[in-house]
Point group: D2
């Protein structure tokens, strides 16, 4: 059983730490800390080992995974440069699998990052989707992979209007042919499904939230899920907001300030690119607390010196018995890409399992990984974890029955 | 249906806010914010209304509920003095129901607080328990109460050795007769059960954790529960620790610093009085995270100027993927007694319901209220809330079936 | 010796606390905590007693000082309602001295607050200035005041272009006559100087920063000073930034987030009204640290539930030896008006002294009170305090020489 | 002009970063960020260049500076391992100059750290001092050094009683001969003065606070200073406390919690070793605020996972006008040894200058470097900086006058 992991944004920080981590796990140089699927409940499942993955991906820049990882280690101090050196061979081998991505409609903050070659690439429309899908099929064939999981790790795209109205593939194709904007995340997702891959949208971009692609996944029998991975401040919100609900304390105001200095932060300085992210970060509170008039605010500010070290201060003003106002504040200081990478590995493992088990459509049990889980109304962390653990228990039971009896849904 | 609420520590801050709040609810001067049992799930149960309660209690000091509430409002600014004035009549009426408590073996930090009269009280041993029980029976008879719930709100007692070995009432009686220390919380709990009341231990003191009393509750068919209400820092721990478990992040160190300036804080300056509290505050993390070598520390420091405004700073150092160390810190600024009071009302309502439904022994569904829930291993907040909500759902279903069918367990 | 204190914005929070405080000091109901001029160094000066002041002022709303103070106490819990009741008589007497202000060019966030009467007031141009000055002269005459100090406490005005070019009174008059915008703070300041009063600009509005008015003050021999009182986050900056300078640590980024919910906060939601304030808050750092490429950001967000309780979180990212990045963060939780009020009293006392001593032009020794001290480049708190203490020492020495020898500068 | 820097505790973190930094400065691999003496005001002085220093020292462990620096970089991530490799040659050369120290009376937390060889060393009493002094003289002669500055960087010693009564060298010698405890810091200081070196006590240990040694310094014409370098939380206190003084705000309580995990933290777990440190950290506030009844508390807790990353949370509760209580809290997250190292270089430079200029006795202008500056009552940071800058200005002026005119004080 050989599994491919295709990362869109293969030269980014998250991809760099994901690949470094997978290689480190393979060589016994790291512990699986931070992998949700390393917990006891997942032991019964025959999940693929992170160390056995073969990586490839798309990117729009001129770089390579080794340089990206080396640079990340140097700039952030989060992972030792020695570790990157120790896995250099793997990073370079995987780098050879990376193909040219697209910046068509990627937005003003992303386009300038692309290499000359990418910017001058002739493909557009349906041909572009086919080319991206071909990259995936070539990858699978060349490495004799049983299954491939595509994870979208590209920078946050600006929101495109009217995508939610594209209910059928022809409608999507028409929009494409007319030259109306279709963001890259949609093209990548489309290509992934065309090529028979599982698809995971780790970002706030559109991906398979376009109804036409959700239908495509169902008709092709493929699993997919998104969007916007929950790694820091929103993760905290989803753990803390239930406290106020459980104690019947009224949240008067929840102010969240996020400081970060990586490429994500730079891109999010653009209000267009920021909009979807802010909406996702805010939705969690409203979903859990159910207060309509809740005063909340989310700010994301670019602080270059912090690089990947996301620093978030949340101030929660709340009211208790007899109108007494009280407060809670927290400061979260986490390395964003290091928090994200093990989740990427988790989603590849769960995506591969879903493919193998013939599950199609939304992987709703993966809601816990996302700020805006597609098709799931539950935002409370523990409730989401119960969804995942229940899935693991059920799948684990099936995993133990003889193979001949297994009936894919 | 008339319910009595007997508060041990009737002149304390928590009792003052509880009574002021109940009276305010009766008069429509306050909203039930902070009452767990005011949530949707409890609508189907015919819980007694906080505004219908009749209050009484024991205390060792010379004071009265009106003076205590007035002083609390003035010192803390947490509740308006106008509100206290508006309910003065009720507070004074309930004050007439308060009886002299005991300081026998109450520890070095509590004894000096007692009035001359209490300190010179002749009763000891079994006679003292009988006298306390008589106070309860008189209260019930005089006010024609259907049921009485006793809530222990006294200051933290020092831990007494050997209590856990007292498995039978005769064993407990022998200890008492021999003059070996039996702390007041045990005597109050004993008296409550003798008098046929439900008993709730809101404090870190022993209460019904003595096996002999747990047996007594069962044989008398009475509900009870404890101990150590979870109102601030530990509440936060029980909401946040599951996040680290869910994400498989390794907690390296969890340092908790509690600052407070009320009587609780003053009493907890004494290492003996502090021991049980610290153990309870720390147990939560170990139970949830299951790490044996977890580095934790809990400090409780007395800061007079803060009065009832508990200020807690927790620093959580944790390790993610590839050994990267990150941190989370929070500052909780809450008014302890205002956080506690609605929970006292909740526990009276749930205690009365349990009495009425003929439930006996530990009210395990109330685990969410306590730092060290008796008989419950679960410390995670959401899981505890599910226990309570499930109970409410089941009890609610039964509440809707004809009375004749209800079979007390 | 009788001194008048004329507050522009007489029904605002700061004025309410200032008057309540002065009356409380008079009656011995409060200590002079927070008054800079109550320190040892000022004992030798014969400063007027806060309790001897007679208050009056301008406002654009329908209200009165007693109602404002009562409402402030109720909403914020910062001062006891009992105290307001105890000084009601004074507040009402002073309320009788308040006159109708102007909202001409006050900006979109202020104008809707004005009473019907104020909005329909016919006066404009030079006549309006004369009318405001007449209010001051009437106040002085009616109460037989030796001297009057005007303190501008109005809401933050939007910046008006071209004011700094108005170098002469005729130029200012021409602008006024042509109907070009001249903000109220300029009109009030002009009127104050016309009426022979000392003038203090407590706000970020223009006031006497218009060169024509600075000249007027000199020609009339009157003292004045501003602008934008330093009460919270900027005060902290002026105390902390020197630490980084003294230790030669490089500040990489200083991010300041201010949350507040009072009228100030509401007005500052408007970007126009906010601009001057943000500039002042940021200038402090640049002045002290002298780093040209310093990355700083100041945010002011409106959080209604906080009311007057300004909550500011500052995150300072800095670099030490060998490039090591470190951080400092602080949370300031202060009641803005309570922090401001004693400074208003200080400035009245110092303004009166300057008038009496015949000092004219900028009261540079008062730089410590302001975010953007007019005519003073020094922003470090301790250096500014030395300026003030040196002034006090020199003035004190003169105060002790025989009266006949005193020569006003 | 060739200067020697002798570090007692030569294998500790601070020494490791100091030497790595000096070597990095020499090779142009680092900027002088964090060096107080790199500021403009010191340009006029002909201070020795950090890169020209020759290092040596005493230590009680088996190690070497290269291993210590390498280990520090790996464990803390604070400095790049590449940098340590780049200066390996220097570190190894300086390591050859390190000699065996003493653990006589070093206290229970330090003694177990010593090497077998050190623990079995025969020398005691006066002979030991002579041996230590001989190490210094050999170092100076072998490297043909013009001057040597000794900096004590050893772990915090327990306080020894009666040291302050030792007014003369014979008294100190008698104590030594009688076998009464004389802590190592005193022996090292004595040896330094015997050998004609300048002496700086960077720690909370006794050093030259023993009057007999202060006299010795004067009689030998040598400069010395201490004690307990101010690098983090106390530095913050000395910058912030003046704010409350300047604004006449009453500090109700100042609670400081220090978390750290390096050897310092481990040693400070011992109450005896901790006492002097706590006293120094607390004295700053009392000195600046001058409030006798000030409620303060300083805690130092050992959190191994933090290693050298000192994390301090201070909570300041204060009272403003009309009794309103407010708060300020800060969290300082700094790498202790990286903060300390440039100050060690500063003190070597200033010590060398004082030696060269013939200054003797306490270097009071260096008060800003210490928590408990010997002979200086001033604790406010800015005032201390003014002392230092004034010294620099005066010395600078003299430096420009012809050498023949310079008259050593």
């Amino acid at each position: 059983m050989k599994t491919g992991a295709w990362l869109v944004g293969a030269y980014g920080n998250v991809a760099a730490v994901t690949m470094t981590g997978a290689a480190a796990l393979k060589r016994g140089l790291a512990a699986p800390t931070g992998l949700v699927t390393d917990r006891e409940a997942f032991r019964g499942l025959d999940l693929c080992a992170p160390g056995d993955l073969v990586f490839g991906g798309h990117d729009i820049r001129d770089s390579n995974p080794y340089a990206a990882a080396r640079e990340f280690a140097r700039r952030t101090g989060a992972i030792p440069t020695d570790l990157v050196e120790a896995v250099r061979e793997d990073l370079e081998a995987w780098g050879a699998n990376v193909r040219r991505g697209t910046v068509l409609n990627a937005g003003p903050a992303i386009q300038p990052l692309a290499s000359e070659e990418v910017r001058r690439a002739p493909q557009r429309g349906r041909a572009l989707v086919d080319a991206l899908a071909k990259d995936l099929r070539d990858f699978q064939r060349r490495h004799r992979l049983d299954r491939v999981v595509v994870v979208h790790l590209g920078s946050a795209e600006p929101e495109s209007e009217g995508l939610e109205a594209l209910r059928t593939l022809p409608a999507l194709e028409r929009r494409l042919e007319r030259g109306q904007p279709v963001p890259p995340s949609v093209l990548y997702a489309w290509a992934a499904l065309e090529a028979g891959c599982a698809y995971v949208n780790f970002t706030s971009s559109a991906g398979t939230t376009v109804p036409a692609l959700a239908s495509l996944a169902l008709s092709r029998g493929l699993p997919h899920m998104g969007r916007d991975a929950k790694t820091g401040e929103t993760l905290m919100k989803s753990a803390l907001a239930p406290l106020f609900r459980a104690r019947n304390l009224q949240v008067l105001s929840w102010e969240g300030h996020n400081l970060l200095g990586n490429l994500d932060g730079a891109v999010l300085q653009d209000p267009g690119h920021r909009a979807a992210k802010l909406a996702n970060k805010d939705a969690t509170l409203k979903a859990i607390l159910g207060q309509k008039d809740l005063h909340t605010r989310v700010r994301i500010d670019y602080v270059p010196s912090l690089d990947d070290w996301k620093t978030a201060w949340d101030f929660i003003h709340f009211q208790g018995f007899l109108g007494t106002k009280m407060s809670l504040q927290f400061t979260w200081q986490g390395c964003d890409s290091v928090l994200a990478a093990p989740l990427v590995l988790d989603l590849i493992r769960l995506g591969e399992l879903a493919l193998r088990r013939g599950e199609k459509g939304l992987m709703k049990h993966c809601a816990i990984f996302f700020k805006a889980p597609q098709g799931v109304a539950e935002h409370a962390l523990e409730a989401q974890d119960n969804l995942l653990l229940t899935y693991a228990r059920l799948a684990s039971r099936k995993a133990r029955t003889p193979a001949s009896v297994r009936i894919p849904k």
